[in-house]
Amino acid sequence: MSKLKIFTKGFFAENAVFVMLLGLCPTLGTTTSALNGLGMGLATTFVLVMSNVAVSLVKNLIPDKVRIPAFIVIIATFVTIVELSMQAYLPDLYAVLGLFIPLIVVNCIILGRAEAFASKNNALDSAIDGLGMGLGFAMALTMLGSIREILGSGSIFNMKIYQGDGALVFVLAPGAFIVLGYLIALVTKLTKKA
């Protein structure tokens, strides 16, 4: 597989959210606005790249039977690093994303990539894979966040684009599910044609 392909597959062909349906909790929970979605996406990307690299470096040292716990420890370490750094340097974003930051650890994408890719490939490829997957995830979250922000608050990245109140429901839980449902239908339709 070429490096480019490793990088781009995460955007469409194997997009974590639209195609693989992984990491749905943060996808729905943190996308009340485009910015929050982007922030969550980037935080996840960081953890994904770092844990992918770490896993691929130590993959041969870890006995198979304790593979999963070992991966979880590695992932949890990076998650905590993100959590602490965000608290220190981006307190506003941390306040918004809240619980979902520690929950990156149980995001199936990360353990999934560690299992499916990093434990079988070299560090560079794993890093590219993590970056591609992570950015694909971030893209999906930003897209969802943008739509919800536009429909729900009448703004995008906090810039007002129309007067008056949006449809509040899109900021709330029901809107998240509904928008993602139609988005997946749309993405499936477009990718099928292509």
């Binding site: 349906l21 749905l24 909790c25 929950l103 029901p174 449902g181 997946i184």
Partner: protein
């Protein structure tokens, strides 16, 4: 009364799936049939309650005491992962039939973020829960998860027999349904 409110709040008002977006993966993954949904519910109630009790004690008597709260994520997830293993082993021995039915879902509980999420929520300083409160909170949350899961499974089984348009079949319509279910559950808001 305080406990009743806690229970109602966790099951209906702040439903873990429909309002808090936790445990979405199993919510979609294990909701194709009501029967498996019921089994999964049982497993989650069990794991979530025990996990919360154990992590609560760990937080109060180890992490807080030694001032190493930053180890929270890492220790909690390890405890949950080993608990799931334990449940798997016990279930295999005690009820092979149930194990057969749930076998594939049990590992899923490890990555059920609702379990970790509830464990973390239960020790949040601003909640200031007692051990009993935490336990009730965890159990009610799990029941709320189960309620949403079973209702959703029923709706999906119903849709198996319906005439869903081609482009909406499968995942998309499942999300729309979940959205409408969440919309209905908004009616519970403010009960306290």
């Amino acid at each position: 009364m305080e406990y009743i409110l806690l229970i109602i709040s966790a099951i209906f008002v702040n439903n873990v799936v429909l309002a808090q977006f936790l445990g979405i993966c199993p919510f979609f993954g294990v909701s194709k049939q009501v029967e498996t949904a019921l089994g999964m519910t049982g497993a989650v109630i069990f794991v979530m309650t025990i996990a919360t009790v154990v992590t609560y004690l760990l937080q109060k008597y180890v992490l807080d005491v030694f001032g190493i709260q930053y180890m929270q994520t890492i220790t909690f997830i390890l405890i949950i992962a080993s608990l799931v293993q334990l449940v798997e082993i016990i279930l295999k021995k005690v009820s092979p039939a149930l194990f057969q039915a749930l076998g594939i879902f049990l590992p899923l509980i490890t990555t059920n973020c609702a379990v970790l999420g509830v464990a973390i929520l239960a020790v949040r300083p601003d909640y200031n829960f007692s051990l009993l409160q935490s336990t009730i909170f965890a159990m009610s949350t799990a029941i709320g998860f189960g309620l949403a899961l079973v209702l959703f499974a029923g709706l999906r089984e119903h849709m198996e027999l319906a005439d869903i348009p081609e482009g909406m079949k499968g995942v998309p319509i499942a999300f729309i349904t979940a959205g409408l279910l969440a919309l209905a559950f908004m009616g519970f808001s403010g009960i306290a």
